[in-house]
């Protein structure tokens, strides 16, 4: 093994990347930009904001009566949205369009005579147009549903106190002596039965979401761009084959093992530098926190970059032209990224797709990140995933070595 040749190949590879400004765009800028934009699109970059910037909940209230005031009271002063109440109305299709265009996060139509209808015990219809993809809109739906439930329950209870059930459904003891509104409000505000939700893990916050830039998108795009950059660099090996650089290196007493190690370690070094910089930038820019296991972090980055570099050597040996290497590299990266859960969390796909995803290096690496960040796992708990990643790494490197030796000797 000629260490000088290997070191020179690695140094040359790194220098070429560093000197090429366009590769720096792909190495660092695009991954960061993607992380930021995808986190933003998927809605995990933050909440609320200032009340002035909160999305509008438009209430077209033709009634303007006390029953409408009472209905909307639980929705006042919510940090996720602000109520804008007007006394006009609009058609269903216009309301739908306003929400679809995101002019308003939700639209509620309160008809004329709502208060009178509630007082008289008549049936009244409210129409809510909302966007289930927006947190603010979901909150409005939940709060309004609760508020309507309260009004309906009071109406039903008053009915029982006043008249009991309708004759056709009557029971011997269905009528109450009275309805104690104060007692109702007291128990409604301070219910006996409550739900306490908590996330069990390292970060025990209730708004844990994998689409958050701090929790999924950041690490996912680090892995995606490391793999993409290394796979796309397979064309350099194709170029070295085609312009006879490999043959010249062999004449200069470089063994096939030297060449494999030179190409592999060069890719690995770039992958490690790229991963380290991206993880650091994610940490500084978005407060990404990688858990309690530095060793686990180093291991996952090392094994994933190793796999990607080994696969790039294999691809560089198999592709006939640089363009073919580019196309295959992009195809493989995108397929593995989508199947392995780098584009969307694996928990939302069917079980057989989850199994497939978890068997791929992309799925194993992102699961390591999730478990380190979310569960606080270390190397021992993640040993199965590390073994899986190591297998992929060994197989990719072994196949790459075999193919490169064959290329060199023929």
């Amino acid at each position: 093994m000629n260490r000088t040749i290997i070191a020179s190949m690695v140094r040359l590879r790194i220098l070429r990347v560093l000197r090429d400004r366009s590769s720096l765009i792909w190495l660092l800028l695009m991954p960061m930009f993607f992380s930021l934009l995808m986190g933003w699109i998927m809605g995990g970059t933050g909440s609320g904001g200032s009340p002035g910037s909160a999305p509008r909940f438009m209430v077209f209230d033709q009634d303007q009566g006390p029953a409408a005031d009472s209905l909307l009271e639980p929705l006042l002063d919510n940090e996720r949205f602000r109520i804008v109440r007007v006394d006009s109305t609009l058609s269903d299709s216009e309301a739908q369009e306003q929400v679809a265009r995101q002019n308003h996060t939700a639209v509620l139509l309160i008809p004329l005579g709502y208060t009178a209808g509630v007082k008289a015990g008549h049936e009244v219809e409210l129409r809510l147009f909302y966007d289930s993809d927006r947190l603010s809109s979901q909150t409005i739906n939940t709060l309004l549903d609760r508020s309507v439930l309260r009004v309906n329950t009071i109406a039903a209870a008053r009915q029982l106190a006043a008249e009991g059930l309708a004759p056709e459904a009557a029971l011997p003891r269905d009528r109450a002596r009275s309805f104690d509104a104060e007692a109702f409000e007291d128990l409604w505000s301070n219910p006996r039965l409550t739900l306490a939700a908590s996330t069990l893990g390292r970060i025990e916050e209730d708004d844990w979401v994998l689409t958050n830039i701090r929790q999924h998108v950041g690490p996912a795009y680090v892995l995606f761009f490391v793999m993409m950059f290394l796979m796309m660099s397979a064309k350099e090996l194709v170029a070295a084959r085609q312009d006879r650089t490999l043959a010249r290196l062999v004449i200069s007493r470089a063994s096939s093992l030297d060449l494999v190690l030179g190409f592999f370690l060069g890719g690995l070094a770039i992958g490690l530098v790229q991963s380290a910089l991206l993880l650091l930038m994610n940490s500084l820019a978005f407060g990404l926190d990688y858990g309690n296991s530095p060793l686990g972090l180093v291991l996952v980055v090392l094994l994933f970059a190793g796999f990607s570099s080994g696969a790039a050597v294999l691809l560089g040996c198999l592709a006939k032209t640089g363009n073919q290497a580019d196309g295959l590299g992009m195809a493989l990266t995108m397929t593995m990224a989508s199947l392995g859960g780098l584009w969307w969390p694996l928990e939302i796909v069917p079980e057989f797709m989850q199994k497939l995803g978890h068997s791929l290096p992309t799925g194993q690496a992102i699961t390591v990140f999730h478990d380190m960040i979310g569960r606080g796992y270390g190397v021992a708990e993640l040993s199965d995933l590390f073994v899986g990643l190591a297998c992929w790494f060994i197989v990719a490197l072994a196949l790459g070595t075999w193919r490169l030796r064959k290329v060199v000797t023929t």
């Binding site: 049936e123 549903d145 439930l149 309260r150 029971l171 109702f184």
Partner: protein
């Protein structure tokens, strides 16, 4: 004639490029398949998200009730239930074996009867925030309804609450009488002739049941009906069984990869310059306008061919809808391809080298794809991004395909995006011809 020869030459070269074939045809179909399998059944017929595994903790719940609850929860195929003690449930959640654990407190039945405060806990797995969120949402809705019912009951019949304690003045101990399964409780109350305390408890129980049923009946009539309309994302208005998710995914990926294909076609201008074939052609009787028009036609034809093949394959493999008539989809394909050709030919004309063009076009494609709705549907993006999306041609192309393929609408419904695509195509064509001619006249192509 000259233009036709140039176009023929370019198309021959494109068809012979294996990389282009992989990237532009196989990859969109592959990714569409993956998306279909991931989000909507697709080829195997198994649909979307799998049943949510949950752990239930209920120390004092009778076995029969547990079985009933398990049957009820599993019947919907929404949940798979495992009963466990709290420490096992905690470990299962932390290990990700279940998405959530629902922990009912000890002495639940006694506390319910007794009027004591009760807190139901839901422990969520950090690795399954989506599924555990569903569990929390369902529980919240159930509990709010219970809260409303209980508040109403107590406001109507406060005397019942006072009489339902576990240790009342008449010596009724609820936990003794409600011990065991349903059959045992029933037999105990049926054989209560010689036990005045039990008889009294039985009467009270009947009263409470009458009140409960009356309230339940009363609550089943909603005075205020809240009709909730979701934003109707594309296709959701249809019955869920009628929705073919491939109708969404295929056009998105097709437009995404169309951009790569057309950019590659446009890059040919640089290749011809580098190999000096462009300069040689400029020495022939052919004009610079002939050359740039031929390149524009080649790039547009390449895009049309690719989109046509992808939709044909999509129709055969995934039953993708090809629109309400034979020409709507064709018009969208033509205008999308001409707009794409205009964008990337302009980029090729303005960039000094192939490498810069290569990097710039990839950056532009990825950013356009993100803001234009190829990765995330336009209707799911926030307003700012949606506004930004209106400045990229693929946003309008995606809207047009959505109208024709997803909504099965004709050209009249897709008029606005199609007009914008047509304007973009025409404007960029004129700019391309003008810029290239000026550069050729000034010797800027050398």
């Amino acid at each position: 004639m000259v233009i036709a020869s140039l176009v023929r030459k370019d198309l021959k070269r494109i068809v012979g490029d294996r990389r282009a074939l992989i990237v532009n045809l196989v990859l969109p179909l592959l990714l569409t398949t993956i998306m279909g399998l991931s989000f909507g059944g697709g080829l195997t017929g198994s649909s979307g998200i799998s049943a949510i595994p949950i752990a239930m903790v209920a120390v004092d719940m009778p076995q029969m009730m547990k079985e009933r609850l398990t049957e009820g929860l599993q019947e919907s195929d929404f949940f798979t239930v495992t009963w466990a003690d709290s420490s096992t449930a905690d470990a299962m959640v932390r290990a990700g074996q279940v998405a959530a654990a629902v922990v009912l407190p000890e002495d639940l039945t006694a506390n319910l009867i007794d009027g004591k405060d009760i807190s139901v806990a839901v422990w969520k797995d950090p690795g399954s925030p989506f599924k555990s969120g569903i569990v929390q949402e369902i529980l919240t809705r159930m509990i709010v309804r219970y809260q409303a019912g209980e508040a109403a009951y107590n406001a109507l019949w406060p005397e019942d609450r006072a009489g339902m304690g576990t240790d009342t003045e008449d010596g009724f101990l609820a936990e003794d009488y409600f011990a065991g399964d349903f059959n045992e409780v029933w037999k105990r109350f049926r054989n209560a002739d010689n036990d005045p305390v039990l008889q009294e408890a039985g009467d009270r129980f009947m009263t409470v049941m009458d009140h409960q049923v009356a309230l339940s009946d009363a609550l089943s009539v909603e005075q205020i009906k809240l009709t909730v309309n979701d934003k109707a994302p594309a296709g959701q208005a249809a019955e869920s069984g009628d929705v073919n998710l491939f109708d969404y995914f295929l056009p998105s990926f097709a437009v995404f990869f169309l951009m790569f294909a057309v950019a590659a076609g446009a890059r040919d201008i640089h290749r011809e310059r580098k190999q000096l074939t462009l300069q040689r052609q400029m020495l022939s009787p052919m004009t610079s306008v002939d050359f740039i028009v031929a390149k524009w036609i080649s790039a547009a034809l390449q895009g049309m061919l690719q989109l046509a093949l992808l939709f044909a394959a999509g129709a055969i493999l995934f039953k993708v809808n090809l629109g309400p008539d034979p020409y709507s989809l064709a018009v969208v394909i033509v205008l999308t391809s001409t707009a794409a050709a205009g964008v990337f030919i302009l980029m090729a004309v303005l960039t000094p080298t192939e490498k810069i063009m290569d990097n710039l076009s990839t950056v532009v494609i990825l950013i356009s794809a993100m803001v234009g709705g190829n990765f995330v549907p336009v209707d799911q993006m926030n307003a700012l991004l949606k506004n930004a999306g209106q400045f990229v041609f693929n946003y309008w192309a995606n809207l047009s395909f959505n109208e024709v393929v997803v909504q099965d609408h004709g050209l009249s419904e897709a008029l606005l995006p199609l007009l914008i695509l047509a304007s973009v195509s025409l404007t960029l064509f004129v700019i391309n011809v003008a810029v290239f001619s000026v550069r050729a006249r000034r010797g800027g192509l050398a």
